[in-house]
Subunit: 358 residues, 4 copies
């Protein structure tokens, strides 16, 4: 249950304020060059405290590889990576030890397990996404060898939406904004939320370019379904769209269908997926993040004795989780595609003949 993927399979562990977080990646083909600097770079992009738009918790998020790599190359055995926690302030959480922060996992974890590690949300903290990013980076290394490129960016902050999607711009923006022309408005909206001890929602668009035709395993491991699983599972995500998504439900078939000529599809309303299988066109996923539930306004809640109390948070929180979530989206896209690339092997007898008879 703490594993993701079937053949490129990641198992993660660790709590926000425990000793360490980590992951074990099983199924990495042998012979992949493991570029540690790239993995660290992905973590650096996700790590907190890079700007005033993010939580002030500072973590180095220095990754250490414990196994599965020999002389810089994957050996086919599990790749374990750990990130030690260095900047926990557990005492920030003393006052919420017995109370349920509204819209957090506190309530559900407590009822499901009967006990909980209250420090910083424990396992339910978005800090866990560091391990998604580390393992996603390995998936990206694999996908690069196959010619797949993943990009992403923030399209909306609250109600302020991008009009254009410039992924180059996003990669240089401090909050991965897709549209320079509205970025300052979006930044103001974030700061306004922060300054009023509030938080704000946002939307991320993730694309994968150069994906081979044929990825996705019908009937119950379809590419779109597993992408939905992967993205909805990111902390704070409440909606996922593939291609035109919601817009598709509003139009007629004659508008929504992607006609074809010998050079390929004439449009890409489908977002690169038909019947759960990649069609060779760019894959597009839109992910909607709710505002960070941790806000610094007093809120009504109860405690573990079901007494009514006020929740008054301390601690350090992102005013908008979509920002760092953007990097996690790229990781999840990579994890899904690497897994699907491996799973698709053997869909035809030809694949087996290629490998075993030649």
């Amino acid at each position: 249950m703490n594993s993701f993927g079937l053949k490129f399979r990641v198992t993660t562990f660790g709590e926000s304020h425990g000793k360490a977080l980590g992951c074990v990646i099983d199924g990495v083909p042998a012979g992949l060059k493991i570029d540690e600097a790239f993995i660290q770079d992905r973590l650096d992009k996700r790590k907190p405290g890079k700007s005033k738009l993010e939580t002030s918790r500072k973590e180095d998020d220095k990754v250490e590889i414990l196994s599965g790599v020999f002389e810089g190359v994957s050996t086919g055995t599990p790749i374990a990576m750990v990130i030690f926690n260095t900047n926990q302030k557990s005492k920030d959480y003393e006052n919420v030890k017995d109370i349920f922060r509204p819209s957090h996992g506190d309530f559900t974890y407590f009822h499901k397990y009967g006990v909980r590690d209250y420090r910083g949300g424990g396992r339910s903290s978005a800090r866990e996404t560091a391990t998604r990013v580390a393992s996603g980076a390995v998936a990206q290394l694999l996908l690069k060898e196959l010619g797949v490129k993943i990009v992403s960016g923030v399209s909306a902050i609250g109600t302020i939406e991008a009009k254009t999607h410039d992924f180059d711009y996003a990669s240089s923006s401090p909050f991965y904004a897709l549209d320079k022309s509205v970025a300052h408005l979006q930044e103001s909206a974030i700061m306004e939320a922060k300054n009023t001890h509030d938080s704000i929602g946002g939307v991320v668009i993730t694309k994968a370019i150069g994906v081979p035709i044929g990825l996705g395993q019908p009937m119950y491991y379809k590419l779109d379904a597993i992408l939905a699983d992967a993205f909805m599972g990111i902390n704070a995500v409440k909606a996922v769209e593939i291609g035109d998504g919601m817009q598709s439900a509003k139009v007629k078939g004659s508008i929504n269908n992607d006609q074809i000529n010998k050079n390929g599809f004439l449009s890409n309303h489908a977002g690169g997926i038909l019947a759960g299988i990649s069609n060779g066109d760019t894959i597009t996923v839109t992910t909607h993040f709710k505002p960070t539930p941790s806000i610094f306004q007093a809120q009504k809640t109860t405690n573990t004795q079901n007494e009514e109390v006020l929740c008054e948070l301390k601690g350090r929180h992102d005013p908008c989780v979509a920002i760092r979530g953007n990097i996690v989206c790229e990781a999840m896209m990579a994890l899904v595609l690497a897994d699907m690339a491996l799973l698709n092997m053997g869909s035809k007898m030809e694949h087996l003949i290629n490998i075993y008879k030649k």
Copy 2:
């Protein structure tokens, strides 16, 4: 890959124009009364040809139980069910045998597998959802014993949206409309699409009431993530929302958070799920269906030799797949919840002590 669920696990098989479709349900606890009439009733609600709003293909969709039930009660062994196809007209598909229908699985199935059963879409046909409904009905029987109730309805057809959500009305509406006041407009939109040889999208809302607190397995089998998987995997679905979904991304935390008093949550923006675990409140999923890709207008496409040709469909197709999709949504909700109820057993030592030491 043709299985869904981990402990309440359904494996389905069958093609649109093959001999039969069917499913095997593994993990049904022994001692559940299997009400065959209820299962058949669910299939009858999904089956085609009930009204002019649906495809004119008429299938009895008569279900037959082959195993796993003895004297009306589940025995703990796999329950296999089959539905024989009786009204296939394979010759309707002779003329599309070598061409790719725009926005269908034809193109991707052909490239993934190298061969395809072109008759009626083969395995990629929405006819497969009959087996989801049959197995979902068994899940519903199990959930009823736990006090869980599932309802659903169609909230939008194209751009015409329900203003109120009346699930009682939906259950008596020929197209499961949620709002009587706009139902006639929605019906007109469907008929207009049909009469112009086109199709139209729609939106379904599905709710589960009375779900116990604690269902959902973090970190990678979260309740919301698996619901997203389940619903996105239904044919023609392009977006899935949990609770307020997209709306949550537009607002601030102070608006979106669900505060708590000793009687429970003061609002339900979360749609009954926090940190991937049910919180006891009503679970809400909104599902967006694209318009049926099979339309009767000429469309540009290619064939298996990559020659450009016109696609001119015959056959019988739903003008709006959201309608019958509505019943499939209930089935998927039930399958996910039954699985999660079983998986949650053992989350605490107390559960084991209860079962093994008392």
Copy 3:
């Protein structure tokens, strides 16, 4: 839990005296020629009532393919097969309805599930192995394309052991005996057991020749471990050996090690597997079957009210389950190897480059 294999995945269903047994095979690569006559032939070799050495229950065991095959070729979608029961005599079991037959699953099924289908052992009957044989036959068709050949035979009946292993002879022997010189003694032992209303144990040897190097997934899906799982899971099996098996534990390393020269291994004590991975040499599994527990002598037992009663069986039973078990062994070998051949794809980056970049 009623599924076997990860990528070549078989799900079986059905009870001894229910309507039908069947299986769904998921993961068969598209483009495999499905030779139905071969599948039926395997079932015919396993089916009961072929000689006086077997139970007199006569079943046609006629297999019907419901899906996944189009124009004689696999399409990549699940292949479902059913075998309808035709010669059940449920009333044979009326008198054991409430009692536990010694060394049967009656006792454990009743306690685990609280209910049981007592007719002919229900799901615990060896009749279930028909579906293993049907799906194993499809695995054999796949393996033939890769140059793998599977043979087997009965090496011992009770204490009478074969001195030579002649797999050609076995294939023509009515009870798959490996050594013509002791076959008549073994046959007498079976008949003697039968005539005294008793039963007798036996041993089967199964070999796979031409298996590619590299099959088997360490650390917890090793080839030898999964073969042990597969063979121990066959009804009545109580011990499994790989290669020299038990003998290896009695000797020194200098005797047991297989030295190597440039043409390959100088001996095969290992049975073709090193560190859980095939080494290219012949794979050998030895399987020990206990005597059929259903004997026609009075035995002490209890009933569902825990009262002491005598068990006096009617019905029709094999005097030696190892005989028909021999065919099941071949099926399990094939299922494991087909699965492993698929799973191994992607062990090296080279495999991915082959398939996606060429």
Copy 4:
């Protein structure tokens, strides 16, 4: 593939001469007291270098828990444990860097993956079993709460077999010998093998007492089949028996059947398992270990260029792997039973009603 178990699921990583070994245990119910001293004690019993009968490699095998435990109690989140390697001598392996040690995984790892970590066998080293023992210790803590006790001992060294099985004696014997009367002969056999630069095989018996009736999931996750998988997967194991095992195949049903009276079974030839499900009696598994393949005599082999060379090993190796394997057997028994105890929950509707409706 580096995970074991379905609900109590262990994922392990690490190489013999890498930075660290470790495991992640997913599915430990919340509220289990985690006794670290017990875990360390199990590791101490397995660790090398305790006597002259074992390899002289000395490892502290000090375990560190990184997650999943809060204030001494499991929280329901993954428990990660690491053991850092401290006493590697990689240069011992320089001379076998390119050659295949006879009967090792060198040959198969190289061919499967194209690369290998040659230092100490890399991942294929029995050093990996430290992580089995660490996770097995957590399983044992869980099973203790359910009243299950696991014992084991060495019954044979080479051809010298125990006549009695005294598990108390075994726990105090330096090589876990079951029979004091032959222990000195067995010890001499080990020393003789060691002194002649050879190695020797051995046999281990493992028992589980007090196992609840009903554990084991037919049809393809039977208790006996998964025990066979678990034990055969231990390094150097070549045969596994349940209950009377091989002996059962030599006798008649009237001898082998376990008759029943109201106090239970009158014998236990079955080894506590019927039809793949525990029957409440003691579970018995017999495991046959081949002699350590690493011997210090010159052996014929080839190198990665398929040139014939002599293998002349340095390094430090156990003369008899069965000894330390004994502790691993207990761990595997515990892992299987803990998993089965969790999986069995939900076999009856009664279990669900107990947990969700009371």
